[in-house]
Amino acid sequence: MGNFDKKLAKFWDIFINNNGYTKVLTGLQNTLLIAVLGLAIGIVIGTLIASIKVMPKYKRLPRILDKICTFYVGLFRGTPIVVQLLVAYYVVLPLLGANMTSINVCILVFGLNSGAYVSEIMRGGIMSVDPGQMEAGRAVGLSYSVTMMKIVVPQAVKNILPTLGNELIALVKETSVVSFVGASDLYVAFSYIGTNSYEFMVPYLVMALIYIVLVMIIAMLVKAMERSLRKSDRHN
């Protein structure tokens, strides 16, 4: 470890003097942007899919929607996220002739991908809510969808919050593959520092530390949210 000081000095030089930190900050921003917005899209899609999947199936429309959702979930769970990113960026985008920045493509793909996972989490959550809640809502004359949105889903979300926190943590870490389509995240920032200093040990170590801290902060936030949602369980 004799030359660790030298490595540290080299890293510091690039990090401070050659604007390495601005790259890290943009990288951090992009990582969080993709993970958080991706999860937000995922929750919307996931809730929709889960609601369709738990619908009573004796009419034709829910059955068709159910098939479509099963296909969607199979598609996005059955392929690696890197493959989805590459296909979206290099196949779908040119085919549609659409013009999107790589960050936006990443947000969309991560959203669609986590939608598939969140749908199963949400379905479990919805099924964990007492069916009497749905009956009571229907009995006072609210429609299926209104009861779902106002009564069942809020209770389901409370039950699945720890798992959703897991999903966000997984997303934060998975974003490290977005450089495949040219988006700059934390990994890109640190490998830039590494390449410019011909020295990878310290940058990647710092990168690992930042990921750990990030995940710890998210875990703390999720816990705080859980506490505030548990309000209705407290006996006072």
Partner: protein, 274 residues
């Protein structure tokens, strides 16, 4: 008020209701009794289509509820239902539980009226005979205040106004059930359906719930009660339906039914429970 004609319900191959025909008149209090598995709960749940009937019809205010094309949500608003397990909304406060449905429905109506008015206005630009707009004489805030006031009045009636802002998990079973009853009343129903309202309660809390139901009965509310409380059925009901194996075996005024049942199955049942 409710005409039930040859009502049938099957779950898979099991026929639970085998053709039930009866009429529930306005102001009547009908107690439905019978052994477990006789189909009495299913019968009650078919009345507001919580279970869709597989045959027959339920004519409520001139509309056949068993017809799948009917918008059941509109008619359910006139039929309050009280469950054995209370089913208060766990994510809402007591006041929120009572206000949710009336508030949502009235605000939704207001929104729809406003939306339709926009279309009519646009259409009127091209129409020779101008169409008149929907009358809107309340604001959102007025509706909110009104619904809230009504909910508080109902809470006061059962003496639980200090519980307005707590969550259901903090209440006793009896309190929950009484709140479930006034939650149904907040919709101003024309008939109340009770599905074994006291079966999940501690014995000491049965009284307070039955008292409230009796109050409603005295005020002239039409009600159908599935119950195992024979004393209560005898006291409150104006008519008793005895059901077994998906059929009504005997019906009549409680005095004659309880003192002198005709059907052998009813005799046997009463000898066990009385």
């Amino acid at each position: 008020m409710i005409d039930i004609i040859d009502l049938r319900k099957s779950f898979g191959n099991v026929e639970v209701l085998k053709g039930i025909t009866t009429t529930i008149k306005e102001g009547e209090k009908v107690a439905v009794i019978g052994p477990s598995g006789s189909g009495k709960s299913t019968f009650l749940r078919c009345l507001n289509c919580m279970e869709d009937p597989t045959g027959g019809s339920i004519i409520f205010e001139g509309v056949d509820l068993a017809d799948m094309k009917v918008d059941i949500n509109i008619h359910r608003r006139h039929m309050g239902m009280v469950f054995q397990q209370f089913n208060l909304f766990n994510n809402k406060t007591v006041l929120g539980n009572i206000m949710l449905a009336p508030l949502h429905i009235r605000l939704h109506d207001l929104r729809m009226k406003k939306l339709k008015n926009v279309f009519i206005r646009v259409g009127n630009v091209f129409r020779r005979n101008k169409k008149s707009l929907y009358e809107i004489n309340t604001t959102r805030q007025e509706i909110k205040d009104e619904v809230r006031e009504n909910a508080l009045r109902l809470l006061k009636r059962i003496g639980l106004e200090e519980k307005a802002d707590v969550y259901p998990s903090t209440l006793s079973g009896g309190q929950k059930q009484r709140i479930a009853i006034i939650r149904a009343l907040a919709m101003n129903p024309k008939v109340m359906l009770f599905d074994e309202p006291t079966s999940a309660l501690d014995p000491e809390m049965v009284g307070e719930v039955l008292d409230l139901i009796k109050q409603l009965a005295d005020e002239g509310m039409t009600m159908v009660i599935v119950t195992h409380e024979m004393g209560f059925a005898r006291e409150v009901a104006t008519r008793v339906l005895f059901m077994d194996e998906g059929q009504i075996l005997e019906e009549g005024p409680p005095d004659t039914f309880f003192s002198n049942p005709q059907n052998p199955r009813a005799k046997e049942f009463l000898s066990k429970v009385l």
